[in-house]
Amino acid sequence: MSVNRHPNTQGVTIKQWRYTATGGETTLSGTDGFSQSLTYTAGAEEVFINGVLLVRGTDYTATTGTTVVLNNALVAGDIATVSAPSVFNVANTVPLATVAAKGDLIVGNGAASVTNLGVGADGSTLVANSSAGGGISWAGPTFMAGKNKMLNGAMDIWQRGTSTAIAYGLSRSGADRFYTNSDSSLTGTSSQQAFTAGTAPVAGYEGTYFLRQNITATSGGTFIVVVGQDIENVRTLAGQTATLSFWAKADASRTYSLSAQQNFGSGGSSATYTSTTFTIGTTWSRITTTFTFPSVAGKTIGAGSYITIAIVSPSVTAQTLDTWGFQLEAGSVATPFSTATGTLQGELSACMRYYEQSYDIGTAIGTNTQNGQVTFRGLGYSASSSGGSPTTAIWNEITIPYEVKKRIPATVTIYSSYTGTAGKFRNYDGSTDLAGYSIDGNGQQAFTFGAGQFINPNYYCGFHWTASAEL
């Protein structure tokens, strides 16, 4: 049988082997009547005959660990008991003082070495972290669904086309939600670049495209936000530690900075700015930077508030910067990359909250294409009530619903589907572009296009449209 003598403090197990003699035995060994084999650590055993403790070396010999040799033979009915404690090596214990508070963990920080890892914040998770002393650290709180606050982080969605111009001010990239912003008169191109299969920077996550910001010339100005994205609602991550991670490479190694901004919307409090710096080299590497968004307590939040993630160039200079895999998440650890929604359709729909167009995805605005255009037929003049020649054009109104409800009523632009001219629709049968239209009923779900210009009856007309509800 086994007896745990001090189960709450020592953890030492006492094995007790008991045997009833038939008479004449001088050796104790084997299995007793309780299926307990006789084993002991020499020198630590205690041998009793009828409850009387024998003297080691005088009354018996015990050296093998499995047998005890008695100096005097047993008499029938004698009860021989051998008690054997388990080995207890004090040198290999962990001091209780290693932990100091509820939830503390003892983690290895090297060979035969441990350290304390204090309990994490509520809802946080343990993640492997090679830069932490104990090899693991608390992250988060993180949420697998929606942990990434940036949309289109994998650069899969390019509604506006695969190549767009970079110029003075804010230049929206073809990659949805991303832009360049500068007070310098820039010349350059924001373009879609394809990863060669198997060469994407993340093992196990094959990115398809990355974003290339190629600035070929600058003129004047004080700053360049080479890559930026606005994220709706200034309450996002307010008062929290946040980590931005992304993969990047540049034409030359530079020390860029992150400008994390809180913009409080129309009539709201003044913006806040938090900055960190990091180096982007000439080969793909993951950039990780951790910072804290200020609390919004006491702030006035107006309509259209947002936070901004801006990658700022160290100087106003021509450059090429490639980026992919943007992720902004709560906590101080960059967890494995995932898109905000987890699916292509999810990312597209999320981006469409801010921008949508009738052109096919990836088709540049102003392209001569009839795919996806809105068409209608001319209705001519209304009849004259006086019997004379009719002079009032019949309005031809078309309500165009969005695929995704917009953040706000959007800025709507009409394009001739033939010449690509903005502010015009195409009268195909009349071989001309016309500007006589109105945008009405402009809401989050739809807008109404009303052609109020005379168009010969049954003349075929068409146009494309874009709707921007960007921040």
Binding site: Y168, G169, F223, S257, S266, A422
Partner: protein, 58 residues
């Protein structure tokens, strides 16, 4: 640099509309404070600047 001009369209009743403005590139912009294009219209006389962005080393 894009330097837009703006016009106020006329409504069906012949009066100037209050819900929309039209930018010189043909964009119809709702007069919504949360609309970034409308904010740009309101701030059209302000030189585009974002010099409060912290630069590296600051």
């Amino acid at each position: 640099m894009n330097e837009y001009t703006y016009t106020i369209p006329t409504g069906y009743d012949g009066n100037p509309r209050t819900d929309m403005i039209v930018r010189s590139d043909g964009a119809w912009i709702p007069t919504d404070p949360a609309n970034a294009d409308y904010q740009a219209y309101l701030n059209k006389d302000t030189l585009p600047s974002n010099s409060s962005i912290p630069q590296a080393g600051e």
